[in-house]
Amino acid sequence: MAKKKSTKKISRPKRKSAKAKVVAAPVVTKEAPKSGSNLLRIGIIAVVIFAAVVVFAMVLSQMRASQLEKQAAVPTAVPTIVVATNPGTIEIKDPNTNKSAVMTINPASASTNLTPAQAATAAAVAAQGAKAAAPTVQPAPVESPTSTNIPLRCRVYRKDVDSKANIHRIDIEDAKYLYDSGRAVFVDARGPNEYLEAHIKGALNVPVNATAADIAKLKDQLTGKIIVTYCHGVGCHLSDKSAYLLYDAGYRKLAIFFGGWPKWNEHKYPIVTKAPVDQPQATTATAR
């Protein structure tokens, strides 16, 4: 019995200490948050997400590139036009499908649309009749923005545009041709500071916030010319907005040089840069 009593007495303080530990345990965990490891975990997950996206984007761009290469590698068989045995008919052969179609044309209506060169060729074909002649009809140069002949292509810009949506968008070749021709006046649509810093030689500044009065001041320089607006390049729409301002001011011979300042500079065409620091107001011409 004595032994039992003694064991009971000893066991009491043990229970108390156990209770104390249970109470103390959550306090310890609250006082020491694992902020460092949590940040590390956040960082690691962020890196994993970033890496996954990088890999995905790279794979996607590779796939796109290979797809484009495949498309380029596939020989594009263009349907060939063969003037058929009978005069007044055209046979079209498609090498992809091995199919052919014969079209009957009305020579009377066709001749009205033919140029003298084409008419002569057509007459020759008609004369040959059933000899199965297949002459190559050279298309006459066409005055259009898609023509490969730059001077011919640029003739289109001399005509008035009928709406803002139809304002021509020209590349560096056409811009340079128009610049050299002297028929065009270039308009810088960037801010005045950038214009003063450097601009295409001879260009005027019509920023997007220019008023009608500002544009009216440039009337003498703009009248009768093809107005070519430009800004920072492809991603920039300031040249569009300036062109619209000029359209609203009554000018109709308008073109937007979408390559803009970066493209012009890249080709090292004539520019005007700001004078050195000691002459801040003056501008010097730099023909390159």
Binding site: V54, M58, R190, G235
Partner: protein
């Protein structure tokens, strides 16, 4: 101050921040994915990224935006996504600020698909990006980095 902290660390506020930023990032990334050439031009126009990195950046950034935006919306690893989004926003803010300081008057190429957001380099763009940065920063600081949507779906299935 305590009230303000309480307000921005409230789960509902954080939820609103996440959904708003997530949607903005997803929507703005769509045009960039559709037309990477235009985005490349936008990056190039800032004149701070070397030409060598322009193409990889134009390929990676829109996907990073869309992934982080979706993670934000669905509350998956919000803090990690917030870290990436904050990084992107810091980069955008610095780029816009330097362009503005240099006097470049150009479109910022940030939200060209959302017509009611000013898409031009200037004070408004800088302030807007700083506000977005504060929002993503509060998500990073106060949100939980867990897959909450997974638990939510699990709960629905259990109930079902």
């Amino acid at each position: 101050m305590k009230l303000f902290l309480k307000l921005i660390s409230h789960p509902i506020t954080l939820g609103v921040f996440r959904v708003l930023l997530g949607l903005l990032f997803v929507i703005s990334s769509i045009t960039k994915i559709q037309n990477p050439a235009k985005f490349m031009d936008s990056i190039e126009a800032y004149g701070i990224v070397p030409k060598l990195f322009v193409h990889p950046m134009a390929m990676i950034v829109p996907w990073l935006q869309i992934v982080c935006g979706l993670l934000f919306i669905f509350d998956i690893y919000s803090q990690s996504s917030a870290l990436i989004i904050s990084g992107l926003l810091v980069a955008y803010t610095v780029a816009i600020a330097q362009a503005f300081a240099r006097g470049l008057s150009m479109e910022c190429g940030c939200f060209d698909m959302i017509p009611w957001i000013e898409d031009r380099v200037g004070w408004s763009a800088i302030i807007r990006d700083v506000i977005f940065l504060c929002m993503s920063g509060s998500v990073f600081l106060f949100d939980k980095n867990s897959v909450n949507i997974y638990g939510f779906i699990k709960k629905i299935f259990k109930q079902g």
